[in-house]
């Protein structure tokens, strides 16, 4: 009985912290430049995880930023985030369309596409981790992050999007639906499937 009560408390605390994060995130930018600065790193990693290619991720982010400023700079700051992610995910979808056409026309180029460099591993090997803490903890966190990265890359694109927008960016179901251009029901389905799949892949690894 106590355990279920504790779990309930933990869940409440988690939801409160996520709400606090959301409020603080909303307050942390007022101009478009501040917004882009606030969002750029996360958006870049989302694009990188979706495309598995750093250079393409940079191109996509630049296009998305450019389009947001060009078309939606007159919108209110609360609208920027869903709009930006909508543009970003349209660009990622376009990238996959172009890639599939390119793979059909130039099949021999397919093998060169995968990025051989391991993003986090390179950072860890150089010992440039920005997070403070003991080396053992840092190493463990790095390994977990790497596992999570690999697991996310195994998800279908829509599940990746739903997971990253809901879990990482902390968007509500409604905002995620706006960003993904689908219904709230679809978002819930994609997110639930993503969580189940990630739990299947990472469950044992995280329990160790």
């Amino acid at each position: 009985m106590n355990t279920s009560g504790d779990k309930q408390n933990e869940c409440n605390q988690v939801s409160i912290t996520s709400e606090q994060k959301q409020v603080s995130a909303e307050l942390s930018y007022k101009t478009l430049e501040e917004f882009l600065k606030f969002i750029e790193k996360r958006a870049f990693h989302m694009a990188r995880l979706s495309t598995s290619h750093t250079e393409d991720a940079h191109d996509i982010i630049q296009d998305a930023m450019y389009k947001l400023v060009e078309k939606y700079s007159d919108k209110t700051p609360t609208d920027w985030k869903p709009l930006f992610y909508r543009i970003l995910h349209s660009k990622i979808t376009d990238y996959y369309r172009r890639k599939s056409v390119r793979d059909k026309v130039f099949p021999w180029k397919k093998a060169d596409d995968q990025e051989s460099e391991d993003y986090l591993a390179a950072q860890l090997n150089q010992g440039i981790s920005l997070s403070s803490g003991e080396p053992a903890n840092m190493l463990l966190r790095g390994q977990h992050a790497q596992q999570l990265t690999n697991a996310i890359q195994q998800l279908p694109l829509r599940q990746q999007q739903a997971f990253m927008l809901r879990c990482w960016e902390g968007l509500s179901t409604k905002e995620t639906a706006t960003a993904m251009g689908c219904t709230q029901g679809s978002v819930k389905t994609h997110y639930s499937r993503a969580m189940t799949r990630l739990r299947d892949i990472l469950g044992e690894y995280y329990e160790q």
């Binding site: 750029e40 790193k41 996360r42 990693h45 930023m65 450019y66 390179a122 997070s131």
Partner: protein, 117 residues
């Protein structure tokens, strides 16, 4: 593990990924942001456009008005001449353009002279 607890663990790891962004990527992101923001400086002001349009209209009017005044007298004598010819003979102006008419006129004049003689 519940969904919420999983979510919190994943969030921690995702934040770790975010914190460990390479400096070269940070530099390129800053560049991309600067390029995107440079559009706001280049955006033309509507009042400037209105002023430019008004100036263009004014200039066009100033250039075209004297041309119209000069061209009017040049056209009028031709028109007046045509009207005079038309009114004197009572025939259509198109008949004067036809070579057949002049040919017929010559024959008519020749016959008239022959009859008078």
């Amino acid at each position: 593990m519940s969904n919420k607890i999983d979510q919190e663990i994943y969030q921690d790891d995702l934040e770790y990924i975010e914190q460990n962004t390479h400096s070269r990527d940070l530099f390129r992101l800053a560049q991309a942001r600067r390029v995107a923001m440079s559009q706001t400086n280049r955006r033309p002001n509507i009042s400037n456009w209105l002023a430019a349009t008004a100036c263009c209209c004014g200039l066009t009017f100033l250039v075209m008005a004297p041309l119209n005044d000069q061209s009017t007298p040049a056209v009028e004598p031709i028109v007046a001449g045509v009207q005079l010819i038309e009114s004197s003979d009572g025939e259509a102006i198109s008949e004067f353009d036809s070579m057949g008419f002049y040919y017929w006129l010559d024959i008519y004049d020749a016959e008239l002279v022959a009859n008078n003689d």
